[in-house]
Structures are given as C-alpha cells and as structure tokens.
C-alpha cells in the first residue's frame, strides 16, 4: 500500500464545475494533514473545451504536479483518451457508464482499475443539478482512498454551508452516496490516505490569493487594474475584500489608467499596486518610467502567459523576464523579484512594498500562470519583517528640516541616493513631481551636469539596495551536488520535487533558486555559482532569458539548459531526466 502520496485528476468540459471540485478535494486532503498542490488546465473559453484539475498529494512536500495520475475522474470520454499516457498500472478511473454509451476506450498494456459510478442516474433520482456529479465523484475518489468520512463531511458542509445550509446537506448526502458506492470494494487499488495531525494549521491558497494577502498585509490601500489572465483573480479577490479590509479597488478603463493611478496614489502616500500580464504591461510601459524618474513607489504584479501578442491566454510561460527588465524608455532603477511558489508570492509581494518605499522606485514582481493559478497547501501566512516606509517624512520631521528657511527638496542629493519624501497635504513640503528631468527641487532641467547627477543619484539607490536588502539565490537539496538545477520563479515548484526524486534515486542533484533578479546581487550570485559543479538552467522560454542575464552580469556561463515554451509547465520527471543526461 502506498500511503499518503498520490495524484488525483478530474477532467471534463468547462462549465462542469471542475475547478471547485478540485479545490474541495485539495481541502479534504489538507485537513487530513497532507500537503497538496493543485494545478488546473483550461482553454481560453467559458463553456466547452477540455478542462482538467489535478491534485498532487504527499505527506511531506507537494510543490508541483507530477506525471502519473493514480485516480482519474473522467466526466467525459475525452478525459480518458487525452490522459491515457499519464495512467500507470494500478491507476483507477472513476466514470459513469452512462457517459460512455459507445463503450469504454481500450487501453492496452496497462492494468487499470475501472470504477463505474452511476452519477447521472443518482442525480436524476435526487433531481439534482448536473454539476452535482462532481460531488459524487469526490465521494467516490475519497472512498477509494479510504479517507475518514468525518473529514470529508466537515469540508463539504463548510464549503456549502457558508452560503446555503440546505445545499450543504444535499451535497454531504451526494458525497456519501459516492463514497459508499466505492469504499471497500476495490482491494486492488493500492493508494490510501492516513489522516495525520499537522504541527501547524494550513490553508489551501493560490499564488494570486497569496499575492493579494501579501499586499494587504503590507498595507496596500489602493489597487487599480484591468482584467487580464492570469492576474484577473487578484482584482476579483481584492474587490471582494474592499470593504472588509478598507481598500479602494479600482477596475480601470485600461492598463494605462491603472498604472497612472497607482503612481498618483503612490505619490500621495498610499501604498498602491497593479496586476497585469504582458499585454497590459506593454501599455503600462511609458508610465513605469515616469515612476522611476519621479521616484514614486509602486508595486506591479506582472503575470506571464505565453506571447507574443494574445498568444495562449490561459497557459504558462517565463518569456517576459527580459521585457520586464528593459521595459520603458531610458534608464532608471527598478527592482525585479521572481517568487517561485505560493509562500514566496506572499513574502515577495509584502517585501515589494517595503522596497518600493525604501528606494522610492517601481518594484515589479514577476510571476506566471503556473504559480498564480495553482493552489497549494501552506502554513498560515505571517510577515517576517515589519512595515518600513523608508524616508517618508512626518510633519514634524518636515518642519524641522525646513526650520532655518531651507527649501524642501524632493530629489535632494544624499549619500544613499534616497531623498526624504514629503506628501501632498503636508505643510512646507510643496514640490512638483515630474516626468521631465529635474533638479533637486523637481523643477525642469535640460542641463547636462544636472541630468547626469540626477541619473547617478537614482542609480545610487540600487547600490544601497544591494548593500542592505538584496538577497542571493538560494540552494535547495544537498550541498556540493554533482549537478545544480538553476531556475527562477515558478521553476522552483517542479525543481524541488525533481531534487527529491533524485535523492530517492541516489543521485546528487540540488536546485539554485533566483528571486532577486534586478539588480542582480553579483557577489552573492557568483559566490553561489562557485559552489556548483555542473549547472542546468531550466526556464520556460526559448532564448534563455535568465541564463543570458547571469552571463551578461556575472560573467558565468551555465553548463547546459533545458527550456520549454509550449505553454505547459515543467514536470519534475522531465527535469530529472534532463539532469541525468548531464550528470
């Protein structure tokens, strides 16, 4: 019996309630004390098209989806034909014979366990809605896994109970029917759940949810955005929290407005953020530079999906790193962070607000569909640092600063490049922020020397950042490994599992994870890479964007690379396979 490590997958047409079902399943496993990682795939359609949701469950660590599927819930025939390859000997398929009137597909060479559950008929008898089939399927899946019934019942009643108690009752009943239809009847099925008590409480949350929480914890009070996959859920979630959390959330007329609005709010002293994807970020480009020049703190969430242009709207990609690093005309300091999983999405977003205010410049958090829309079980979030608003002046400080008649200078030259900041509404702090090059006061200049000095001043902030706040890449797995997988952003998710799989196979492989991309902390990067023997840079683009960035700045060439750019995320198995080739 393989206990507490398996992968479950459900598939069907859009509109079948697949996403909710997957979340409920994750939550049951989470409450059973297990780690979960859920990954949805769906086309850019509202109805129809093939949707799947898969949940990898493990007692110790679930950071990714894996290749084999141990339970496949097939709400239609396509789910089986499209995912046959993922089934292994001993996998179970839960299906309703009524959906397969022309017979089951023949799958040769695999010992599969077919689990028929008459879901349609049960619904008909109870006059339920078609999506309630999913509820029965959850019951059947968990029955197969011998999950304690009380946990399931608790999750289902909580889920539906909040809004409609009568729905909770009916759904508990339906789940139980599915559960009983299967429980104890498939002795050959070799995977089960043994509930454990986790040391700390957990929740199941997406990258997007984590970003939103990080922002709220950081005191973000103003959010403006225009919907765009994969970042739309941030707008949706924050809109729902607007009243409870005292926020102003603005769905704007376009991304240009969103960007200009957060700059307006940032200038006026409110922590502000936007979230978008490549197309929207392109529209924000011009204003991004203005924030850099006018030294306005802002936080931008840039969620990648495959481009160019509209590309593959609902799939994943890591091909916008260079775009973010170089966006907007001219040169200005920016800080670019690339968190790799839900926990890091929370931490990086939280931190982004402190950095934005300390260095009075845009901070861009680069994520992607894969990390934003996958749901992970995590420990409850806590901030690891306190709020730091940098050189934001209080009225008293401002009064003192101008005591002997000195004029307040918004872009005053200082040792660390950061100038004390007064906000509109403060007495004695009047100044103009400007998209023109300026002198210390904010007044326009075209003087060569002043232009150079102000540029140097702005870039000095990055030197200060590198000395005080920047962190180097982090190793996961054994020290001095024979091979190091190098990645940024969501590559962390499958890479961590690849390292684990390597360990189980007796291979010496570790992972080096980059979050601080720009400015690149050179010394720390060189130090880390010096500790590697062979490196395999794994990233979701064709041109090797991080690989090139590291080569350009740190002068270090990776031994080899593994790149994917078809819209799909990396799987740990394929990373391991590539790694083995280079060992």
């Amino acid at each position: 019996m393989e206990t507490n490590r398996f992968q479950w997958k459900i598939g069907g047409e859009a509109g079948f309630g697949i996403m909710t079902t997957g979340l409920v399943f994750s939550r049951v496993c989470m409450r059973a004390g297990l780690k979960t990682f859920a990954y949805p795939e769906y086309p850019s359609l509202i109805r129809g098209g093939h949707n799947t949701y898969q949940v990898f469950v493990d007692a110790e660590q679930a950071s990714t989806q894996i290749h084999p599927v141990h339970i496949l819930v097939a709400l239609n025939k396509e789910t089986i034909t499209l995912h046959t390859e993922e089934l292994i000997d001993g996998s179970a398929i839960i299906y309703d014979p009524a959906d397969f009137k022309d017979g089951l597909p023949t799958i040769e060479g695999k010992q599969l366990i077919w689990v028929p559950v008459p879901m349609n008929q049960i619904i008909k008898e109870r006059e339920g809605h078609r999506v309630a089939r999913n509820t029965i399927a959850i019951g059947a899946s968990l029955g197969l896994l011998q999950c304690p019934w009380e946990i399931i019942e608790g999750v289902i009643s909580d889920w539906f109970g909040k809004k409609k108690p009568h729905l909770a009752e009916e759904n508990v009943a339906l789940t139980k029917i599915g559960y009983d239809a299967v429980a104890g009847k498939y002795a050959t099925f070799n995977y089960n759940i043994e509930a454990r008590t986790p040391a700390k409480p957990h929740m199941v949350i997406s990258g997007n949810g984590s970003i939103a929480m990080g922002a709220m914890k950081a005191g973000m009070k103003f959010f403006a955005a225009y919907p765009m996959t994969p970042s739309s859920d941030i707008l949706g979630y924050l809109s729902r929290q607007e009243r409870k959390m005292d926020l102003v959330v603005k769905h704007t007329e376009d991304e240009i407005a969103a960007m200009n609005m957060i700059i307006g709010a940032g200038f006026a002293g409110v922590r502000a953020m936007t979230a978008t994807s490549g197309g929207g970020f392109a529209l924000m480009g011009e204003a991004l530079g203005m924030a850099g020049l006018a030294e306005v703190p802002i936080v931008v969430i840039m969620g990648q999906r495959p481009g160019p242009s509209t590309g593959l709207p609902t799939w994943t990609s890591q091909a916008d790193l260079r775009f973010v690093l170089h966006a907007s005309q001219g040169e200005f300091p920016r800080i670019v962070l690339t968190p790799g999983d839900a926990e890091e999405c929370f931490q990086s977003t939280y931190e982004a607000f402190n950095l934005a205010e300390k260095y009075q410049t845009p901070v861009i958090v680069v994520v992607d569909k894969y990390v934003q829309e996958s749901w992970k079980s995590v420990e409850l979030y806590e901030a690891t640092t306190s709020i730091d608003r940098g050189k934001l002046l209080t009225q008293d400080e401002l009064n003192a600063a101008v005591e002997n008649g000195a004029a307040y200078l918004r872009h005053k030259y200082t040792q660390d490049g950061v100038s004390p900041r007064a906000l509109p509404g403060m007495e004695h702090g009047r100044h103009i922020a400007s998209s023109y090059e300026h002198v210390e006061s904010g007044a326009t200049t075209e003087d060569e020397l002043e232009t150079v000095k102000q540029n140097d001043k702005r870039f000095e902030k990055l030197q200060t950042f590198l000395k005080t706040d920047a962190k180097g890449p982090v190793f996961y797995g054994p020290e001095n490994a024979d091979l190091t997988i190098v990645g940024w952003g969501s590559t962390k998710q499958p890479a961590l599992e690849a390292v684990r799989m390597a360990e189980a196979a007796g291979l010496s492989i570790n992972y080096l994870h980059f979050i601080y991309i720009d400015p690149l902390p050179l010394k720390l990067v060189q130090e880390a890479l010096r500790k590697t023997k062979k490196t395999l840079c794994v990233e979701g683009n064709k041109l090797g964007q991080l690989e090139g960035w590291v080569r350009e700045h740190a002068g270090i060439t990776m031994s080899d690379h593994f790149r994917k750019y078809g819209g799909r995320p990396f799987y740990p198995e394929e990373i391991l396979e590539q790694a083995k080739k280079h060992l």
């Binding site: 950081a218 704007t252 407005a257 609005m261 700059i263 103009i432």
Partner: protein
C-alpha cells in the same frame, strides 16, 4: 493673512510664447486659489504634457507633471488617496481629447470631486502646430497641409451627452476675471468639473485668435433666461460657434460622487489609515 500672487510664485518662470492664452489661464487659476482661501499645500495640480502641461511648474502648490494624455487617472488617484486635497488636472486639447480621450470619458462617468481645466487651443502647441481633435475642418496645419478632414470634437457637447459629470463650463483665456469665477466655482463644486478654456495659441493657430473669440464670446451668467440645470438648453448653447460662443457654466447639478460609494474613505482619507500592523488572519478561514 490673505494670500498674494507672490505667494504663488515658484522658482520657475513660464516659457510660453509672449501673448499665449496659457498666461490667462495661469492667472485665472492663481486668482481662484487665492479666492479659495485654502492653504497652498492642500492643493495639488496634476498635468499632462504640452505647453499647457507646464502650468503646474508655475504655481506654488503641490504638483505632478505626468505624461502626455494621462493627467486624469493620475489626478483621480491623488484624489482617492487623499480626498481632502483640492485636486486640479490641467492639460491641452490634444492631451485630453486626443490621446487621453478614454480617460476623459471615464472621468466624467465617475464624477469624482476634482477640477479639470483644458487649455483648448485647437492645435498641438508643444509639437509645433499639428491639428488637434478640436481643430476646425479645413484648417491647414503641419499635419494637415490640405486642410483638416475630421469633424472636430465639441467637448461641451460630449460632456453633456455623458451621464455622470456634474459641472460643465467653458472659459476664455482672454477674460481672466470671468475665467477666475468659473475656476473657483469648479473647485468649490463637489463633483467632476470640466472647464474647457478657449486658449489662443498665438504661434500656431491663426484662425482662432483673441480677435476671433472677442467678437463672439458672451457670458451665460449675464443671460437671465439661461438655466444651467437644464441640459436641453445647454445642448443648444454649446452648438453655437460661428456667430457667438457661450462662456460660463453650461450645466451644474448636485449628484453623488464616486467617492460617496467608498466606505474605506468615509471617515478619513486613505493616506491617513494606519498600516503598521494590518491583521489579515480573518481572511484565512475561507481557505482552511
């Protein structure tokens, strides 16, 4: 202590062409700020890019000179962040009715409490005289050497057609006294106030000159038959152009503002919220 014009002086001096209508608007704004009797640090003037966009460099309040066409979203958020401020947006007709048209339309729908002053010189000044969205058809400019083809935007009519905006006015840069009255009324108005200002560009617009306007403009407030809560009447007056041109408040009503529907700022401005220790733990339950 009453404020004087010198209190409004900055270290920068206008670099507009001598005789430019922007001087009249600058004076109108300064006089309105004096009459408003609010400390200068409570006003923030946000601009776009153009000859007009430089205006806030010459008024000693808080200011933000943004990018071309984006003064309105920038200003809107300054206002949402701190709605105690007197927020004024300024820009050109190219800025507001050309590249920034989308923002203008949506700003009107929102009816946030701010004032928007458009320096409408019917050309692109700063880029040296191309035709603009308000250029009269047939006018020859560097980008319309055979005469402008498009039908011009009538900003007042557009605003009247838009639901939401609660203050619609037109001023003339050559009538500073009246312009100051209109701007002051706009600043005092609770809601989005559009003030389209007829602004002669002495360098690039040889058609819509001071003389052109002086012989045509009249003041709506001197017309006792005019009712500025009557949209139909306003619609008729805003059509006038060839023989006479109305200035003054076309339309003013008291309607709810955008921010009236935002509980987060009902008690105090967003910027005054304490963010040092925000409790997000109640949010976790939904995910457990």
């Amino acid at each position: 202590m009453t404020m004087k014009l010198t209190n409004l002086q900055t270290t920068e001096n206008p670099d507009w062409c001598p005789g430019c209508g922007d001087f009249g608007i600058l004076m109108g704004i300064k006089k309105a700020l004096i009459a408003l009797e609010r400390p200068l640090h409570e006003t923030c003037i946000v601009s776009g890019i153009g000859c007009s966009g430089k205006l806030n460099h010459f008024v000693n309040t808080y200011g933000f000179e943004g990018i071309h066409g984006r003064a309105l979203p920038l200003a809107a958020a300054v206002h949402l962040a701190n709605h105690k401020l007197n927020v004024v947006a300024v820009g050109g007709d190219g800025d507001g009715y050309g590249i920034g048209m989308a923002h203008f339309m949506h700003a009107m729908r929102r009816n946030m409490d701010m004032t928007y002053i458009v320096h409408n010189n019917q050309v692109y000044g700063l880029t040296k005289g191309q035709y603009s969205p308000t250029t009269e058809p047939g006018m020859k400019t560097s980008s319309s050497p055979f005469g402008a083809i498009e039908t011009p935007v009538n900003p007042i009519k557009l605003a009247l057609a838009s639901e939401g905006i609660s203050f619609i006015a037109r001023g003339f840069a050559g009538d500073i006294q009246f312009l100051h009255d209109i701007i002051l009324a706009g600043m005092k108005h609770n809601g989005f106030a559009l003030i389209d200002v007829l602004q002669p560009c002495v360098t690039f617009n040889k058609l819509n000159t001071y003389e052109f306007f002086k012989s045509r403009v009249y003041r709506l407030d001197e017309d006792t038959t005019y009712d500025n809560t009557n949209k139909k009447m306003a619609m008729e007056r805003c059509e006038e152009w060839d023989t006479r041109i109305a200035t003054g408040i076309f339309y003013q009503v008291d309607t709810p503002t955008y921010e009236d529907s935002l509980p987060a700022i009902a008690e105090k401005p967003l910027v005054e919220h304490d963010i040092t220790n925000i409790d997000i733990t109640p949010l976790f339950k939904e995910f457990m």
